[in-house]
């Protein structure tokens, strides 16, 4: 069976209907276990005190903010190359989820930054590229809403997504590129010397798994909704023409 068979809306809805309950359950379980573990059962950091507990929300949200855009990029490329409606609608469905993750990352970052850096905000490379990524999310969603023709909207938003991908990558690698600003380097890295201590890392990993599962479950649910909304618009348009 080919992956492209799931580009068929009926097959996509049938498959996602089957996996959504398990996916949602796993997301809730991971989030509850990870957050309770991190909040109640991990020690304070010797430098940052109890504010280190914000890491369990800030890092997974920031990761998902960037990766949601990358998922939208892949879906947009599939739309541009193969013209599968489900992929364009999946990209549309992921945008509000990614935008919310970006707001969570920005808000928790500001709240965390105030006591640690002495300021809520700085025009630091990573913070600034993240803010621009959020503006791209807003522009992407606004463009979908502004264009009545679904195919034209998918074309234009796909191009916007390609352009915005530069900022999604910049927000991930800004610290490495410019090596300046207030924001620290990556909390998680394949280079073991840079990683957070195990006592924080394990609950953080569970929280990241929870955020990823929540993202996938929400994108499945929202893509189903977009498919149904598109079908409804098509039926109503046919009725108007008849």
């Amino acid at each position: 069976m080919s992956l492209w068979e799931y580009a068929n809306p009926v097959r996509f809805i049938r498959l996602t209907d089957r996996v959504l309950p398990a996916l949602s359950g796993a997301a809730v379980l991971c989030l509850v276990v990870g957050l309770v573990w991190g909040f109640f059962f991990t020690p304070d950091d010797y430098r940052q005190g109890s504010t280190v507990k914000i890491i369990y929300l800030h890092v997974p949200a920031a990761l998902m903010a960037i990766n949601a855009w990358l998922m939208m990029l892949v879906a947009s490329l599939i739309w541009i190359v193969r013209r599968h409606h489900v992929s364009a609608l999946a990209a549309r469905a992921a945008a509000p989820v990614g935008a919310t993750m970006t707001v969570i990352a920005l808000a928790t970052g500001a709240i965390w930054g105030q006591p640690m850096w002495g300021t809520w905000w700085a025009w630091d490379p990573r913070l600034t590229s993240f803010l621009i990524l959020f503006l791209f999310y807003l522009g992407y969603m606004a463009l979908w809403e502004a264009i009545e023709n679904d195919d034209a909207a998918a074309d234009l938003t796909s191009i916007l997504c390609l352009v915005g991908s530069v900022f999604a990558l910049l927000s991930r690698y800004a610290v490495n590129f410019w090596n300046q600003g207030l924001h620290q380097g990556a909390s998680l890295s394949l280079d073991a010397e840079e990683n957070v201590a195990d006592v924080f890392w394990l609950p953080l990993l569970v929280c990241i798994a929870g955020f990823v599962l929540l993202f996938v479950a929400l994108v499945f649910l929202r893509t189903q909704t977009e498919i149904r909304a598109r079908r409804m618009r098509a039926i109503l348009a046919r009725e108007r023409m008849a």
Binding site: L35, F39, F40, D44, G49, S50, T51, K53, I54, L57, H58, A61, P96, V97, T100, V103, I104, A107, T108, I111, W112, Q114, P115, L214, L218, L221, R222, Q224, T225, R228, A229, R231, M232, I235, L236, E239
Partner: protein, 51 residues
């Protein structure tokens, strides 16, 4: 049960509060729209088959 968050209690609790409210709002809005669109499509399809 509640850990001692010391002088950063407001900071930590507000970060958790903001995040959980945003996640709950996103999940709630997604479920609400899913239900609304599903019901509207069912209505349109029923009307269509009734003709």
């Amino acid at each position: 049960m509640m850990p001692d968050l010391g002088k950063y209690a407001v900071t930590v609790l507000s970060a958790y509060g903001v995040s959980l409210v945003l996640i709950a709002a996103l999940v709630g809005a997604s479920l609400w729209r899913a239900r609304r669109v599903r019901a509207a499509l069912r209505k349109v399809e029923t009307r269509r088959t009734a003709r």
